[in-house]
Symmetry: C2
Subunit: 227 residues, 2 copies
């Protein structure tokens, strides 16, 4: 990112930065793939807990991960869903502030944070890429905030569009997570999520081949709902 930003300052549009995933350079990606230890987690198993030392960074190889927090009264807030290729567990505090759990059976790469930090001290690109990942996560969380102040329909529409970008096979979206997970991510109840989905079905905006498989029939309508 440091080099990317430097390059950007010499090019007017800096479009090159946007081109081709992943957005962070290959040094970090390679480092993670090289020094990361593969681990497997079964469905619903804990990957790390709130308050645990944040000594590791995680990269999803396969499966889906949720991060969440539980409030004093038991309400659960899902912070995010992480799919293959996504990095999670990134904290700059000493301890994890969320829990992380495997939604499905998962393979992840685990990397010691101190190893990355040491690498970053030698390689400016890696340092910049660490910064970039954090910045992307920040951006994602800010988008999440914008979700939480919208109406139920807007939240669900935004969620479907987001997921379709991430797991899309054409217009079909295969959801790895339950209605409860979705509800806790969107700050709604399962009943409201369910009702909102049937509303969208009745409006022919989506189709529910099965409860976990949703076909987007009318993206413009979803985008319009997205506000």
């Amino acid at each position: 990112m440091l080099t990317q930003a430097a390059a950007r300052s010499t090019s007017i549009k800096g479009q090159a930065v946007q081109a081709g995933p992943p957005a962070w350079g290959k040094e970090l990606a390679e480092a993670i793939d090289f020094i990361g230890s593969p681990m497997s987690f079964s469905r619903d198993s804990e990957i790390y807990s709130e308050g645990e030392p944040a000594d590791y960074l995680y990269k999803v190889v396969s499966g889906t991960v949720r991060t969440y927090k539980v409030l004093a009264d038991g309400r659960r807030q899902v912070g995010g869903f992480y799919l293959a290729g996504d990095i999670f567990g990134l904290e700059t505090t000493d301890e994890h502030t969320f829990w992380a759990e495997a939604i499905t059976a998962c393979d992840v790469l685990v990397i010691k944070r101190s190893a990355l930090v040491a690498l970053a001290a030698r390689d400016h690109d890696v340092a910049g890429q660490l910064w970039t990942i954090t910045g992307k996560e920040l951006h994602r969380v800010q988008d999440h905030i914008m979700l939480l102040v919208k109406s139920a329909q807007e939240r669900v529409a935004a969620f479907l569009l987001e997921m379709s970008q991430r797991v899309s096979t054409g217009d079909a979206v295969e959801l790895p997570m339950s209605r409860q997970d979705i509800a806790d991510y969107l700050g709604l109840t399962i009943e409201t999520v369910s009702r909102t989905l049937t509303l969208l079905v009745n409006a022919s905006t989506i189709e529910l081949s099965s409860s976990r498989r949703i076909v987007l029939r009318n993206r413009p309508a979803l985008s319009r709902l997205n506000g």
Copy 2:
């Protein structure tokens, strides 16, 4: 942060990191104070706009700044309030994703991002500190999310406790922002914010010397509300 993290890994508690504000090392703070250009903004004036190239970083010297976004239908969501000493405008995207406005008359230091990036390329500490700031902002935004799924009373209580930590003179909190700003930060209406405050007054939890000056009479009660 890189060095801090390294130091942390050799000390068990890493308490030194927590001790003494500001939490980021002095290299970056000094750099900003040294190379930053002072600028003044009058009340309600725009500092930057959404979509504007994010070429600068800002540090508040005096006054208060709000960042916000406006949804298609005109609803406004305040992303954060920045007080003296706070850094804002930090983005890893090319463009600002929020608006920034002076709530009160403000003095800020403006720093070219490319200058900091260049500095970071030479000085690992600066690079780490840039990362740290971003991580702190990420943490702040995650806390904001937790706010937005709580009840009105809980949101207002959390807001008061947060502000008291930031502008406290004992138990008195001098709010620089309007009820509308607070409402848009908490995802509530001004009426609900106002009603909730009177509720807290009636419960002798707080006192309203004036609408902008709030005395916290019972912090434990507020903390309990905070969930």
